[in-house]
C-alpha cells in the first residue's frame, strides 16, 4: 500500500499549445480504489500514463510515499499496469506471460512458479497456463492481463479501460472480479474508464475529468447526489440528468416553453439569497425523479408538466420514456407498469425536492 500525491501536475505534448492535463491535484490514500472517469480526450489516460512513467510530467510532482517519482523509470516505480488491449505477448504461453516480469527481474524460479500458480488459481486460469493468448476468450485474456499485474505484487495497480473490449455481460462479471481482487490484495488501484457505471460500481472515490481538468473528486454517492457543476451532474447517472432552461418567478421555475413547476420552500430561499430570482438558470432533474403514476401526480400537484412520449424503451423492470415538453427533450425513467406508447400525451410530475439548479454562465451548482 502506498500514499500517492499528484501535486499540480500539468502535461503538454510537444508541438501543442494547450495542456492535455492541467493542474491535476489529488491525494490518494493507502489501499484506495480510485476511478478516473470522463469523456474521450479528457486527460484521464494521460494522467494515468504520467503516474506509470510512460509520459513525462511537464510541470508538478508525482509522489509515492512522499518521494518525488517524476524522474524514476517506470520499471523502478513498483507499479503494475493493465492495458486496454491487454498487451499479452502472443508468442508466450499464459504462464510465460504472467511470469515475464518476474523472469526479467531474475526472480527465483520456484517462487515465480508459485506466484504464477497462485495468481492463476485466484483468477481461474490454472487449466489455461500452457495455452497461448490466441487460444483464449476475451474474458480469459483479460484475466491473464490482470494475473500478470498480480504476480508482481506491486504497490500500485493501474488499469487503463481494461473492460472496454469485452461484451456487456462479461464486463459486468469482470467488474465484480476486479472489485473482489482489490479487496483481496488491499493495494491501491487506479482505474480509468469512460463508463460512469463502472466508476459508480467499483470506486471508493471517483475523479471526474473534463477538458484536461479534474471537475470533482468524491465518493460515487457524493458525485451523484451533490454534483459540483452541470458537467458532473450530466455525466454521472444513466440515463443522464435532464436540463431545462428556466427563470425563477413567484416561487416557480418557469420555462419559455410552458414548463412551470413550484420550487420547494427551502430551495427557493437559497435561490433568493443568492440573487437568482428573475434570472435565467438551468434546472436539472434526474430521469428517475420524474413520475407518471397517479399517486405521484397527486403528491406533486404543483410540479406537473404536459409531455409527449416520442420513443419508449421497455427495459424489463422499468421503462425509459424519451419525451418532449415544449421544445425541450428529456427522459423519464418509470416503472414498467407505467409504460406508454410513442405519441401518447400525458402528465408527468417532477419530484422537485431532488432538483438541482445550475448557474447559466458558470454552469456551477447553485443548489
Amino acid at each position: 500500500m502506498v500514499q500517492i500525491n499528484l501535486d499540480h501536475i500539468y502535461k503538454r505534448y510537444q508541438g501543442n499549445t494547450d495542456y492535455s492535463a492541467s493542474d491535476i491535484n489529488l491525494a490518494i490514500n493507502e489501499g484506495e480504489f480510485i476511478v478516473f472517469v470522463g469523456p474521450s480526450g479528457c486527460g484521464k489516460s494521460t494522467t494515468l500514463r504520467m503516474i506509470a512513467g510512460l509520459e513525462d510530467i511537464t510541470k508538478g510532482d508525482f509522489k509515492m510515499d512522499g518521494k518525488v517519482m517524476n524522474k524514476v523509470a517506470p520499471k523502478d516505480r513498483d507499479i503494475a499496469m493493465v492495458f486496454q488491449n491487454y498487451a499479452l505477448y502472443p508468442h508466450m504461453s499464459v504462464f510465460e506471460n504472467m511470469a515475464f516480469g518476474l523472469n526479467i527481474r531474475k526472480n527465483d524460479k520456484a517462487d515465480t512458479k508459485k506466484r504464477v500458480e497462485d495468481a492463476a488459481k485466484i483468477l481461474g486460469l490454472t487449466e489455461y497456463l500452457k495455452r497461448k493468448p490466441a487460444a483464449l476468450s476475451g474474458g480469459q485474456r483479460q484475466r491473464v492481463a490482470l494475473g500478470r499485474a498480480i504476480v508482481r505484487d506491486a504497490k500500485l495497480f493501474l488499469l487503463d479501460e481494461p473492460l472496454s473490449n469485452l461484451d456487456a455481460k462479461l464486463r459486468v462479471q469482470m467488474r465484480t472480479e476486479i472489485a473482489q481482487l482489490h479487496q483481496r490484495l488491499g493495494r491501491n488501484f487506479i482505474y480509468v474508464t469512460h463508463d460512469q457505471v463502472e466508476a459508480m460500481t467499483m470506486a471508493d472515490r471517483i475523479v471526474i475529468m473534463n477538458e484536461g481538468r479534474i471537475q470533482q473528486v468524491g465518493t460515487p454517492a457524493q458525485l451523484y447526489n451533490e454534483p459540483i457543476n452541470k458537467f458532473v451532474a450530466g455525466f454521472m447517472g444513466s440515463p443522464a440528468m435532464n436540463f431545462f432552461k428556466v427563470k425563477i418567478e413567484d416561487g416557480f421555475a418557469v420555462g419559455e416553453d410552458g414548463l412551470k413547476v413550484a420550487i420547494p420552500e427551502g430551495q427557493l430561499k437559497v435561490l433568493q439569497s443568492k440573487g437568482y430570482v428573475g434570472k435565467n438558470l438551468t434546472l436539472g432533474i434526474r430521469p428517475e425523479d420524474i413520475h407518471v403514476e397517479e399517486v405521484a401526480l397527486q403528491t406533486f400537484p404543483d410540479a406537473i408538466i404536459n409531455a409527449t412520449v416520442e420513443v419508449s424503451e421497455l427495459m424489463g423492470s422499468e421503462s425509459m420514456l424519451y419525451s418532449r415538453t415544449g421544445t425541450t427533450d428529456f427522459i423519464a425513467k418509470v416503472n414498467s407498469r407505467d409504460y406508454h406508447e410513442p405519441g401518447d400525451t400525458l402528465k408527468m410530475a417532477f419530484e422537485m425536492s431532488k432538483a438541482h439548479y445550475f448557474d447559466d454562465e458558470t454552469e456551477e451548482t447553485i443548489i
Binding site: 506509470a52 510512460l54 517506470p74 520499471k75 507499479i79 503494475a80 499496469m81 492495458f83 486496454q84 488491449n85 498487451a87 505477448y89 502472443p90 508468442h91 515475464f100 516480469g101 526479467i104 527481474r105 500478470r148 508482481r152
Partner: protein, 270 residues
C-alpha cells in the same frame, strides 16, 4: 461453383504445376545422361543412365569447399541482414521524429539505385581496406539488401501495438530486452519472408561474388562457371552440379517448411 468448373480448374492447376516442374525434369534427367545422350534427345529419359556426372561434377566443383563457402556467406549474410534490419526498422518505426521519417525514406530510395552503377567504386573501396573476401561480401549484401528488409519489417512493426513495448517496460524490461524477448519473436512471419528473399538472392548470386571473392572462397555459382568455357559447354556436369546445388535449398525448405508456410500465410485469415 459447379462440379464441372471445379474439375476444369483442377486440370488447369495440374497443367500449370507440370509446367513449373518441367525445368526440374530437364535438369535431373539430363544430369544422368552422357554428353552424347543430351544432344541426342533433351527430353528423353536417360538411356543409358550414368551417375558418373555427379562424381566428376562433385570433384570439379570442389563441392564440399564451395558448398561451405556458399553456406557461410548465405547464412551469415542473412543473419546479419535480419539482425540489423529488424533492429533498424524497430528504431525507425518506434521513434516518431522527423529524422526517423527521413532516414526511412532514404533507405527506401536506396532500393532504386542499380547495383551495376556502384559495383566498381564499391569493389575499389573494399579493396583499399583489404576486404575483398567473403566477410567483405557479407557487409556488401547487408548494405544492398537491408533497405528492402527494413521496409518490410517496418510495415509489420506498425501493426504491433506500442502497448506491447510499454507493457514490457512496466514489467522491468530494458529496451534491448523489449526488442529481443517481445518484439522480435512477434516479427517471425516477416523474418521468414526476409530470410527466404535474401537466401534466394545470396545463394544464387553470381556477379557480386565474382568481383569480390578470391578463388579459394568461390561459391557454388562461381565454380559452376568452370563448366562453361569459351568453346565447350559441359552440360552433363553443369546439370549434375545444379542438381547438387539445389539439394541444400530443398533440405532447408523441408526443415523450415512449417515456418515458411506460416510466414507466408500469416495474417491471411483472422
Amino acid at each position: 461453383m459447379s462440379k464441372k468448373s471445379t474439375h476444369l480448374i483442377a486440370v488447369l492447376g495440374a497443367l500449370v504445376g507440370l509446367l513449373w516442374l518441367f525445368p526440374f525434369y530437364m535438369i535431373v534427367t539430363n544430369s544422368f545422361k552422357t554428353p552424347k545422350g543430351i544432344f541426342a534427345s533433351v527430353l528423353a529419359l536417360p538411356h543409358p543412365s550414368t551417375g558418373r556426372n555427379y562424381v566428376n561434377s562433385f570433384k570439379a566443383l570442389h563441392f564440399i569447399g564451395s558448398l561451405t563457402n556458399s553456406l557461410i556467406i548465405t547464412v551469415c549474410g542473412v543473419l546479419l541482414i535480419i539482425l540489423c534490419s529488424s533492429m533498424a526498422a524497430y528504431a525507425l518505426q518506434r521513434n516518431h521524429s522527423k529524422l526517423s521519417g527521413a532516414l526511412l525514406l532514404l533507405f527506401i530510395s536506396s532500393m532504386l539505385i542499380p547495383f551495376q552503377s556502384v559495383m566498381i567504386p564499391l569493389t575499389a573501396n573494399f579493396g583499399s581496406v583489404h576486404a575483398l573476401n567473403m566477410w567483405g561480401l557479407m557487409f556488401m549484401y547487408l548494405g544492398f539488401d537491408c533497405s528492402l528488409s527494413i521496409f518490410l519489417y517496418q510495415g509489420t512493426l506498425s501493426s504491433i501495438p506500442f502497448a506491447m513495448d510499454e507493457a514490457a517496460e512496466m514489467e522491468g524490461a530494458s529496451r534491448w530486452q523489449i526488442f529481443y524477448k517481445v518484439i522480435f519473436p512477434m516479427l517471425s512471419p516477416m523474418t521468414v519472408t526476409v530470410a527466404i528473399l535474401n537466401i534466394i538472392a545470396i545463394w544464387n548470386d553470381y556477379l557480386l561474388p565474382s568481383l569480390v571473392l578470391p578463388q579459394a572462397q568461390y561459391t557454388i555459382p562461381l565454380q559452376m562457371f568452370n563448366f562453361f568455357g569459351e568453346y565447350t559447354k559441359q552440360w552433363h556436369l553443369a546439370l549434375a552440379g545444379i542438381t547438387l546445388s539445389i539439394i541444400p535449398v530443398i533440405l532447408f525448405y523441408l526443415a523450415a517448411q512449417k515456418w515458411i508456410i506460416k510466414g507466408v500465410t500469416d495474417g491471411a485469415v483472422k
